[in-house]
Symmetry: C2
Subunit: 336 residues, 2 copies
């Protein structure tokens, strides 16, 4: 019903080429032990009939599906400045999978209910491996799948003592670099607007801030947001109230930094003259804020690529490093 003309099978091709199924299979899969003229006639038959191997049949016997799943958090959790993150990861992953001739199956982890769905799915032998881009740190899914023998790689260091391999960006280093930049610029009272402390990104960026500040003998001034623009504005007002003398703030996300910029403007502070601001993420908006935002760029596409690369190796039976950390990079614009 849904399929038009019946798709030709190996059998049909074999018949037409006057050889056995096995030989056609050999040709299709690129075996070398086939005489050139026979191979040519098989290829001709394939061409003429428009033969395309049936994937289900093939993976039934090979036990491989040639596809990998990418589990993404449903972005209804507005957290994370997904706008770039979401497509960036996908792009990187799909680039890498394409060269490996693997397919990408996307799974949105919306509810807890979809959790089971994903687990079932991965275990149905539907995919050869799973990439989990979970923002909620302590997700049992990766560990569960690993236990069931499904190759898994996480994006972002998992919270808790998980042994699942992961790929992450150097948040700590990036935050430290940002704070270092402020210190070098002679800023004396450097505050931070941290992200949620139940998310790795939130934790690590705060850690980087703390470490670097400690090294420079300044005291830390911390407010916590939830990665949204609004929370950034609120936190900034809070900080200004707590310490009206502050002359710099490192904000754990560009979105929050954008909110903070607004709050600073309302409070009559000039950026960067009165208060220097550095964000994190380097979202597109950062180039167009007033003033343009100095920030820390994470290599999101590379992150996706590395994620896929690691998974491919793992699924290929290789041993891989327990984690890979990609460098972040400061992008100096005008806000600091």
């Amino acid at each position: 019903m849904s399929t038009g003309r019946a798709r030709p099978t190996l059998e049909k091709v074999a018949l037409r080429a006057g050889v056995s199924r096995a030989t056609v299979s050999r040709v299709v899969n690129g075996s070398t032990t086939v005489a050139p003229e026979i191979r040519d006639s098989v290829l001709r038959a394939v061409q003429e009939l428009g033969y395309v191997p049936n994937h289900a049949a093939r993976s039934l016997v090979t036990q491989r599906t040639n596809s990998m799943a990418l589990v993404l958090p449903e972005p209804s959790t507005r957290v994370f400045s997904d706008d770039q993150f979401f497509p960036g990861i996908i792009r990187g992953v799909s680039q890498e999978l394409e060269v490996a001739e693997k397919q990408l199956v996307l799974m949105m982890a919306s509810s807890a209910a979809s959790h089971d769905r994903i687990e079932q799915y991965a275990m149905a032998g539907h995919v050869d491996g799973v990439m989990v881009a979970s923002v909620h740190g302590a997700d049992p899914l990766p560990a569960t799948l690993t236990r069931m023998g499904v190759p898994v790689v996480c994006n972002g260091r998992p919270l808790g003592h998980s042994t699942v391999p992961y790929v992450d960006v150097d948040s700590v280093g990036g935050a430290a670099a940002a704070v270092g930049h402020l210190v070098n610029a002679g800023r004396q009272r450097i505050a931070t607007i941290a992200g949620p402390q139940d998310m790795v990104a939130g934790i690590d960026r705060l850690a980087g801030y703390r470490t670097e500040l400690r090294g420079s003998a300044r005291r830390s001034i911390v407010a916590v947001g939830d990665f949204t623009r609004e929370s950034g504005a609120v936190a900034m007002r809070q900080l200004l109230e707590d310490d009206p003398q502050l002359d710099a703030v490192f904000v754990a996300s560009d979105l929050m930094a954008h909110g903070a910029l607004g709050a600073l403007r309302e409070a009559g502070r000039r950026v960067p003259d009165d208060v220097a601001v550095i964000g994190f993420d380097d979202i597109e908006l950062a180039r167009y804020t007033e003033p343009p935002l100095t920030t820390v760029r994470q290599p999101i596409v590379d992150l996706g690529r590395e994620l896929a690369r690691q998974l491919l190796r793992l699924a290929g039976g290789e041993d891989i490093e327990p984690f890979v950390v990609l460098p972040t990079e400061m992008v100096v614009r005008e806000s600091a």
Copy 2:
């Protein structure tokens, strides 16, 4: 190698429950013709063994895969303000597929080479249907797949005389509404920065502008951009040179509108006092431009949902309308 413990098969479950394979299959697939106590004992065996049906085997016999492909243009073609579009479509599609318990296979159509790959893939019986979100209007892929019996639905009216069903937003109406708004505000010289005229979105938005202007007896002033910010700035400068008296401009994308806003500022024109500006898309940035941008919102997530819904019906053997057009909505902010 990649799988840990061997996955139990139907056979194993049957053995444990003391019934035949057929009965287990019946239970698993929810047949009603199974005695309650037998069903319970089967379910218990399933539970105990952690049985999950093998997808490949199932789809080998049923000829269905329970997954749908979404073909997206590789965003390296920076065209389109993908930032929202890309994830929006995905979100809508996956929401709808989730309730239908179908999986989403994502395919990036990067090069012409990947064209073949996609075609092969869809025809390998790997998916039950394909959604094509093509920006390049005259893409042969949808027609080819349809001819091969693969259910296809397009996002965006295909260029050329294609009979492939599609889902689109009302670009013409949206553009007309925008221009109407400018006319009602008493603007006399209303220019437009159009999108590329080889893309449906570019064509339709210009058509809407033209139609509405004609109705109001004003003359049209057209510059053409390519949907990028830079092209918007260039086009705006061009327009100002052509007609220094213009007092309004309808820009076919928010990104171009952003560029235009910059060009207007450079030229010393106040927005909206001297020149009113209306964009199209309602990307996130639109809320944060200076001044906030009046624009036309397209229901992107709904577009994705409708795309999936139509495809599900088509793949289910139903007849569907040749096209569905979703309404756009003006969002009035401060730029007009």
